[in-house]
């Protein structure tokens, strides 16, 4: 990871949602549904997590002239990060809260 600052509760929510099936690639829309964040709040999170290391990201080419879709899944570092979360803290910090402000949702 490039930075050692702690992840926000929403970023951990994303990691935890991905950890339910770590090997499966997910679309951003899947994460919006699972984490219950607004799209505008969610999309910076996996992109930044991919930059920091816990996530792997790839592009799924679209059909002709259609835009590609971004896919995400946990990296090895991300699995270790989720596994290392204290159970109590994990439960408390990963409870999704709907309608969060953007500043709350970003990776701190």
């Amino acid at each position: 990871m490039r930075r050692n600052r702690p992840l926000s509760a929403q970023a951990i929510s994303v990691l935890r949602a991905l950890a339910t099936d770590p090997s499966r690639w997910r679309y951003g829309d899947d994460l919006v549904t699972e984490v219950h964040l607004k799209p505008g709040s969610l999309y910076p999170i996996p992109v930044r997590l991919a930059d920091r290391g816990p996530l792997e990201a790839t592009w799924e080419p679209g059909p002709a002239s259609r835009p590609p879709r971004h896919l995400y899944r946990l990296s090895g570092a991300g699995r270790e990060h989720v596994a290392a979360l204290p159970p109590a803290a994990r439960a408390a910090r990963t409870t999704p809260r709907p309608n969060l402000r953007l500043s709350e949702a970003s990776c701190r």
Partner: protein, 363 residues
């Protein structure tokens, strides 16, 4: 009333211009949410482009207008509200500080001069707040565009300097409209439009620089004008009218908003826009069709699904597949009408601005 007419003319010209200059095939693909999200993705800093492309890709797979609109509005809100990066963030901070200072000075003036407050005061405050926030958001969007911040901000300072020169610099001369050299108000926006076009290499760059200059100058000069009212109070009014001091202060405050938050930016943006278009035509000739890159798996803002602003791709005269000669003739007719309409609108605007605002400076 003349100012209202100016605004109506400006809006009408903008709408008709889009109709006249855009051939049917020039409309970007996709529905309104896709176009709106593409525009918003273009506002994102280079470091956030991947985020914008991810949202565009996701929207493409969503069904249902309601769901697509909800998704788009959420993403657009985030893209617009997120501050830009680097020097643009500093410039945005400066604009916000100027706007906040002006708003604070208005509140101070109301309290200091014990001006009466009624329902219309709150309506005016709401309008003022809306205009100031709108300028900040508009300035934020312009500051994110490459090659706009430099000429736009410098141009804004030049325009502000021109209005200060015409206004007479001192608070007393400002409120008494004792300035001169009104021609500067026309010349400097032309310089901004030309300089922005040459700096950015396109008419779109010049137009954006002129818009940013208009926003910057409007906020700066409005702050100066409100400061003049706060310091001088009931100056600059003929005492034979029998107005109370409070009424004169109120009138001075509303004049600052009307002239410098409305007339100044409209005039600057309109003249700069025309200068940018003329410069691009003379310097670069007829705009060439912008080729769209072939789709790849690597996202880039210039790919077709990013739907960059129409200004980035000037409308070429594309023949219609079904009736090429008829479509070309129709496009030519539209483009013949456009300069005539623009010339008439600019003449009317300049004349009304002269009547409503520049006239008192000749006293």
């Amino acid at each position: 009333m003349p100012l209202m007419f100016i605004f109506v003319v400006g809006i009408a010209v903008t709408l008709i211009r889009r109709r006249l200059l855009a051939a049917p095939g020039d409309r970007p693909a996709g529905d309104a949410p896709a176009r709106l999200l593409g525009w918003a993705a273009g506002l994102l800093a280079a470091q956030r482009q991947e985020w914008g492309q991810a949202m565009i890709g996701e929207l493409d797979r969503l069904d249902g207008q309601g769901r697509r609109w909800r998704f788009t509005l959420s993403c657009v809100g985030a893209a617009v509200v997120l501050p830009p990066w680097g020097r643009a963030a500093a410039a945005l901070g400066a604009l916000m500080a100027v706007a906040a200072s002006a708003g604070g000075l208005v509140v101070y003036t109301y309290q200091h001069y014990r001006l009466s407050i009624d329902g219309w005061t709150w309506v005016g405050a709401a309008v003022l707040l809306t205009v100031l926030v709108g300028y900040i958001l508009g300035g934020s969007a312009l500051l994110r565009r490459p090659g706009v911040a430099g000429p736009g901000l410098v141009g804004g300072l030049l325009v502000a300097a021109a209005w200060l020169t015409v206004g007479g610099f001192t608070f007393n001369r400002w409120l008494n409209s004792l300035g001169s050299h009104s021609w500067l108000l026309f010349l400097v926006p032309v310089v901004v439009g030309v300089g922005g076009t040459l700096w950015g290499g396109s008419a779109a760059g010049g137009r954006r620089a002129a818009r940013l200059a208009a926003v910057t100058a409007a906020l700066t000069i409005y702050l100066y004008g409100v400061l003049a009212v706060a310091v001088r109070g009931a100056a600059g009014h003929d005492p034979s009218d029998g107005w109370t001091a409070a009424r004169v202060v109120e009138d001075n405050l509303s004049n600052q908003a009307t002239f410098y938050l409305m007339a100044l930016p409209l005039m600057t943006a309109s003249i700069g826009w025309a200068a940018a278009a003329a410069t691009a035509r003379l310097r670069y000739g007829q705009p060439a069709p912008a080729p769209l890159p072939a789709p790849t798996t690597t996202p880039r803002a210039t790919q077709p699904w990013a739907h960059p602003s129409r200004e980035d791709h000037p409308a070429p005269a594309r023949p219609h597949p079904g009736d090429p000669s008829g479509a070309i003739a129709a496009t030519r007719r539209r483009r013949t009408w456009y300069p005539l309409l623009l010339g008439a609108a600019l003449a009317a605007t300049a004349f009304l601005v002269f009547l409503s605002f520049l006239g008192p400076h000749s006293r």
